[in-house]
Amino acid sequence: MPAMTQIRQSLVIALWFMFLTFPILVIRVNTIENIIEWRWLNMLYIGAGSFLGSFAWRYFLARKGQGTRKIAAPGGTAAAATAPPETGPDGNDLSASARSAGKSRTFPSIPEVEAVSAPADLGGVLTPAPAYADKPWLHRLLDSPRLYRPFLIALAVAALVFPFLPFASTYQINILTNALLYVMLGLGLNVVVGLAGLLHLGYVAFYAVGAYSYALLYYHFGIGFWTALPLGALLAALFGILLGFPVLRLRGDYLAIVTLGFAEITRLVLENWNEFSFGPSGIAGIPRPGLFGWEMDLHAATIYIYFLMIVLCLLTIFVVNRLQNSRIGRAWVALREDETACEAMGVNPTAAKLTAFALGSTWAGLAGVVFAAKTTFVNPASFTFLESAMILSIVVLGGMGSIVGVIIGAFILILMPEYLRAFSEYRMLLFGLIMVVMMIFRPQGIVSGVRRSYEFHRETGEKR
């Protein structure tokens, strides 16, 4: 009887957890009155919690197993179904190929294809590929404009109205702006990690470059936000190329270590070179972005930066989306998949990696300038490794190479700790737990990257 064994297993697990947590959760030594308190109720909670938890765990694991089997099956059947025409009964592949070569005369009706297609596409229509016939609902949603368009409009309206709602305090708007900042950082890092597959652990260094460029340019030359924005981006891109050169030969783990070192060097320089960056005390009094000299109070300025971030995020999404469906973007993905083959197919890996580094860093630079303007203060403590790790988590948790995934990931990872404040000291514990569970059940991220598919219309011999 499977149910009985499961209950027995869960009981054992519950007992084990009760035993493990016994010293810290049940016994408490009261050092003032010199007595030992026995909190047996805690033990009961732990027991019940782990008993139910183990059931949930097993259920989700089983579902996950089913899910992968379901996904694997249609791919296999599709391949099997399409195989016969080539090695078919008449056996000769040449004839099959010749037949399809004959079709090719009638094929490219690509201008027509475009007429049918979604506006942003060239030469092909975004249609569900046969292998994904049974794909997750999220992808199905993202694939059909009819389904996601109303959702998108609702989201846009919500974003526009939000700051003027009664409950939207300066704090609420601020954390949302913060989340948008991380959307931008996540999308930037996604170019390097998600698309080009270069494990970059020092992304925060370029964020720092952006922030400090604005701070120092203002401090020394009185340069304003709008001039500093492109300058910061440019400087960050330059630093990206600077880092890119020495690490071009490195792959995987080695690259990760070098980028990590680079970020630490940047932070240590900022911390210790007092004449340049004013050390750990940082630079204060950085002006917020101006709007034609209009004086704004704190709340208005917060709202202004919020909208500014929305615009910048939209710009980021637009650019990253176009990049990933371009010649360059494809080269990045190929580089990620197999560098040797990629080079053998005529892609210059040096150029591809450097552009990935430079473009990724550009967004960090932009975000850095906005960060400096938003907090009006920068110091090296904002640019620790933890930040890099956070941005990388956003990319990995959201789904490498997927724009929607990264956006969702950023919102979850940045907003969750804020809204978990109710749990006070358990906040980060819960945060960690959620991340662990996420990675076990969805290692590919919330939304996994999907390759674009093309549909070709032929006048004859349509197979499906």
Binding site: G75, G76, A78, A79, T82, A83, P85, E86, T87, G91, N92, D93, L94, A96, S97, S100, A101, K103, S104, F107, P108, I110, L122, G123, T127, A129, P130, A131, V319, R322, L323, S326, R327, I328, G329, R330, A331, V333, A334, R336, E337, D338, T340, A341, E343, A344, M345, G346, V347, N348, P349, T355, L359, R451, R452, S453, Y454, E455, F456, K463
Partner: protein, 266 residues
């Protein structure tokens, strides 16, 4: 010398040493336009090393590699990087399939078009008419190649989901997308069943005859080597031990010795 008769690929005394090991020792080889040339030899004879030297993955320790692309000047390939060699017009496949598994079949071929197209970052972001035209051309050409190879029904399938034989053919399609004048195939028939091998043979013949692409192939399957190649080179322990037509190689005692070992008289 007549321009038409100038060899596409002219390798002279190619030597490759890894430390003390001579993987290639003064190997010379020529491929004429319109030829299918096979490079055979026992395991470890240095065939793949030869490919890696030509395509710039290894830097040969001695010897010269010249190519004469049709209608262009003779050029030395030594020291060029792999992607530059591909841009010159030499495309290769790999012994152990190296596709881009997470990309679709069409995208795999589209990568092959990379070195023949120009669009940069700005073009990608702005999507100006020229970039759009180029992108459309990439899709069209890649699709046309897939139709010729017979994979047109699976354009949107992920490369890793293809059956083994199709993956091999996709690698050839991807190499053809780079518009080569010489195709280097590293054991294209490895792991194929007899039917797939027959289809492959026909495909190589068509690539050579219809597309005008010369082929240099490494192969263990003697049946396909003997029936398809105009000429055969035999390597053993990094040295060229024989060259000639299929019939000559078949009879050559040195080759038989290399493959089967020496007869001992007891």
């Amino acid at each position: 010398m007549n321009g038409a008769m100038e060899p596409l690929l002219d390798v002279q005394a190619l030597t490759m040493s890894f430390g003390g090991l001579r993987a290639l020792d003064g190997v010379s080889l020529r491929v004429q336009p319109g030829e299918v040339v096979a490079l055979i030899g026992p395991n470890g004879a240095g065939k793949t090393t030869f490919f890696n030297c030509i395509t710039g993955i290894y830097r040969p320790s001695g010897g010269d590699i010249f190519v004469t692309p049709p209608g262009r000047k003779r050029r030395r390939l030594n020291g060029l990087k792999t992607h530059q060699v591909t841009a010159q017009g030499l495309a290769r496949t790999f012994q152990n399939i190296r596709l881009f598994p997470g990309m679709t079949v069409l995208e795999n071929v589209m990568i092959g078009r990379h070195c023949r197209t120009r669009a940069g970052v700005l073009g990608a972001i702005l999507r100006d008419p020229q970039t759009r035209r180029e992108e459309r051309e990439i899709v069209e050409r890649s699709y046309a190649i897939l139709e010729k190879i017979g994979l047109a029904d699976q354009v949107n399938e992920l490369a890793k989901n293809l059956p083994y034989g199709d993956q091999r053919r996709l690698e050839i399609a991807r190499a053809m997308a780079t518009e080569p004048f010489l195709l280097l195939l590293d054991e294209p028939a490895a792991g194929m069943n007899p039917r797939e091998t027959d289809a492959l043979e026909a495909l190589i013949r068509r690539i050579c005859d219809e597309e005008g692409i010369a082929v240099l192939l490494i192969e263990h399957d003697m049946r396909i080597v003997m029936s398809i190649s105009n000429r055969i080179y035999v390597l053993d322990y990094g040295k060229k031990i024989a060259s000639g037509t299929a019939a000559e190689i078949w009879e050559n005692p040195v080759v038989i010795k290399a493959y089967l070992g020496e007869e001992t008289e007891d």
